[in-house]
């Protein structure tokens, strides 16, 4: 299959790339959200630690 064929997908490009595009977007979003959640958890831990040592 040539690269031109790859992008056009015999006219079904909207459906094929719409599917894979959204799927990959979802996975990327999930990874971003999980990393963000970890950052927040660690940040809250540090806030707690600072509050303790501040006494």
């Amino acid at each position: 299959m040539s690269w031109a064929d790859f992008f056009v997908m015999k006219g079904y490009a909207l459906y094929v790339w719409g599917s894979y595009g959204v799927a990959i977007a979802v996975f990327v979003l999930e990874i971003v959200l999980v990393c963000h959640r970890r950052k927040i958890s660690i940040h809250q831990l540090r806030l707690m630690r600072d509050a303790k040592t501040g006494i």
């Binding site: 997908m9 015999k10 459906y15 799927a23 979802v26 999980v34 660690i42 809250q44």
Partner: protein, 245 residues
């Protein structure tokens, strides 16, 4: 040498283990994903009936199957947490839910986009797609219930009960939807012919494994955050590198 099978059932020891395991799942997932997509797009031939649109199945089918497996695993962990009172089991259930829900969504979205060119409608009330929609509702119910309860132990147990009731209901729901569907339509989603070209099978398998490994990696990451959130008042957390900066 006695093996302590339950060594990693404590959040404190599982946290470290999970952290070490994540790359072992994440990297192979990425590689298999590329391999699967390559085979699926460049090696597998064009389908006689559905032309290029069929290639959506390489993401649709693994997502669907995994969304169902994840629900069962989630209910299993939740049940373990309820019966044995183990916090980590419940944390795993909570960690699995968002991933399962997202995969159910991907399954529905790709299913709709597959349905439009193939059967002419954006939403085909196929028995399996409809059951998938109900599965998404079950996930969202579980997540909402846990989000509404402040006490973590009550949230664990209530969620567990809901997940168990849900999994008992899933066969009933599936059967009733099948019944309803054959009365109204009678057609189910199938590929042309009963045998799949070998390259299609390979691509499907690679994508399925890739997605499975990805799910494990993501859930391990999420459960680590959950552990940090729930265990923040314990001694072992103060000894972590993240805590001490």
């Amino acid at each position: 040498m006695t093996i302590n099978w339950f060594k990693y059932s404590a959040p404190s020891s599982f946290y470290g283990l999970a952290g070490k395991l994540i790359p072992w799942f994440a990297w192979p997932a990425g590689v298999l994903f590329c391999v699967g997509l390559y085979i699926g797009f460049f090696v597998a031939p064009t389908d006689a009936v559905q032309s290029e649109a069929y290639r959506i199945i390489f993401i649709h089918v693994p997502a669907s199957i995994l969304s169902m497996i994840i629900y069962i695993v989630m209910a299993g962990y939740a049940a373990l947490g309820l019966i044995f009172n183990t916090r980590l089991s419940s944390m795993m259930a909570t960690a699995l839910a968002p991933t399962g829900a997202l995969l159910a969504f991907v399954s529905l979205w790709t299913g709709a986009l597959w349905g439009k060119p193939t059967w002419g409608a954006w939403w085909v009330w196929d028995a399996r797609l409809t059951s998938e929609l109900i599965l998404l509702f079950l996930y969202l119910g579980f997540i909402s219930l846990q989000a509404s309860i402040d006490d973590p132990r009550r949230a664990d147990r209530a969620g567990a009960l809901l997940a168990i009731v849900g999994s008992v209901n899933v066969p009933i729901i599936y059967f009733s939807v099948q019944w309803w569907n054959t009365l109204h339509q009678g057609s189910t989603i199938k590929l042309s012919g009963t045998s799949m070209h070998i390259a299609m099978q390979q691509a499907m398998f690679a994508m399925f494994m890739a997605l499975w490994l990805y799910v494990i990696a993501v859930v391990l990451m999420r459960v680590r955050s959950i552990i940090l959130e729930r265990e923040r008042n314990t001694q072992w957390v103060t000894e972590l590198k993240e805590y001490q900066q």
